[in-house]
Amino acid sequence: MALANMGLDHIGQARSLYSHAAAIEGAGHDEDAFAFLRDERAYRNVLLVEQPNGDFACTILRQFLYAAFAEPYWRAMMGSRDAILAAIAAKAEKEMAYHVRHSAEWVIRLGDGTAESRARIVAAIEALWPYTGELFEADEADQAVIEEGIGLDPLTLQHAWRDVVARVFAQATLPMPADGHMRKGGRRGHHSEHLGHMLAQMQYLQRAMPGASW
């Protein structure tokens, strides 16, 4: 139930962002064109968010690591010079605060729980930590919007993110992992194999029956 609700928040945020992107592009596209008609390489998401659900520890840790980034990100974006982005941010920020809280509580339960739950969350941290470095990277497109006061440099969020993660891991009696090799590429359209499978499932209907609607 929680994961479905969290998914709903993300879908709502994505719809608002895609609709805004379509309006800026001005080519007659709508949110669905971005969601259903782009190929894998056109997606610019970080690799972290396309990692498979795995077990519950993996799923909840992925949500936690992302939400701990997204909450301060959207809070800062409330000051964007783009009024619509600022409005989307004001809604998303509250939703992400709730996600942080919920997922953090689970990380703590799992880490400070049984030997089994601890082993699972430790394995999840080992698997997902290498995907966290990409959250703080900015490319040329980011630089352009940062300069115009529309976007923000994600690097400025790294301390806040680490603080929350360290605090939650400490409560969970989990050691803070060392930053080793970080896997990157999503922001340039180079994805892990998981995204293609997800898109195949998500996009099937619109690809098979273009323009189909309820």
Partner: protein
């Protein structure tokens, strides 16, 4: 007809359009109207008096009730004789549970859902929240699940009367 009379006429229609749009029920919590919820933000009637523009704002970004609410507003206003109805979704300022009317809070409690507490818009990380049972009023309650049957609710249990209940999340 003088300009003053025209203005008065339009104002009357606007009040009527506000009432009709405001009376549309939330499809997920039908005991509340969108006016009670604070989802209805603005209603404007054009100079001819047959066109209405309505602004609504979502409670949560992904609230699936928005499309349904928009259709119900269109139908209700069309029935009342407004020929052209346009419903816009506005995001700013962001909806907060503080916009819920006192009447809305009372109706929610009577319906068995704990209303959001005013000024509690933000739950701190690990902050403790107390919610009074909407059935027996006991403050001895516990959260069962942070996410409930809809985006806007969490699931609680009363240790006094032992009944489970929904609580409208502070937002």
């Amino acid at each position: 007809m003088g300009a003053g009379a025209t203005a008065g006429h339009v104002e009357t229609l606007e009040v009527q359009a506000w009432r009709i749009a405001g009376d549309v029920a939330d499809p997920e919590i039908p005991v509340l109207t969108i006016a009670d919820l604070g989802v209805l933000r603005d209603v404007r009637v054009d100079g001819d008096g047959d066109g209405v523009e309505v602004d609504i704002t979502p409670t949560y970004s992904g609230c699936p009730a928005m499309a349904m609410i928009a259709i119900e507003i269109e139908v209700a206003l069309a029935k009342a004789g407004f020929a052209k109805v346009r419903v816009n979704t506005v995001l700013a300022p962001a909806w907060t549970t503080d916009w819920m009317s006192e009447q809305g809070r009372r109706k929610l409690t009577e319906y068995g859902i704990a209303p959001p507490q005013k000024g509690r818009g933000r739950r701190a990380l690990f902050g403790i929240e107390t919610v009074a049972c909407p059935r027996c009023g006991s403050a001895d309650t516990a959260e069962i699940a942070a996410f409930g049957s809809t985006s806007c609710k969490s699931l609680w249990r009363c240790n006094g009367c032992r009944e489970p209940f929904d609580s409208f999340k502070c937002h």
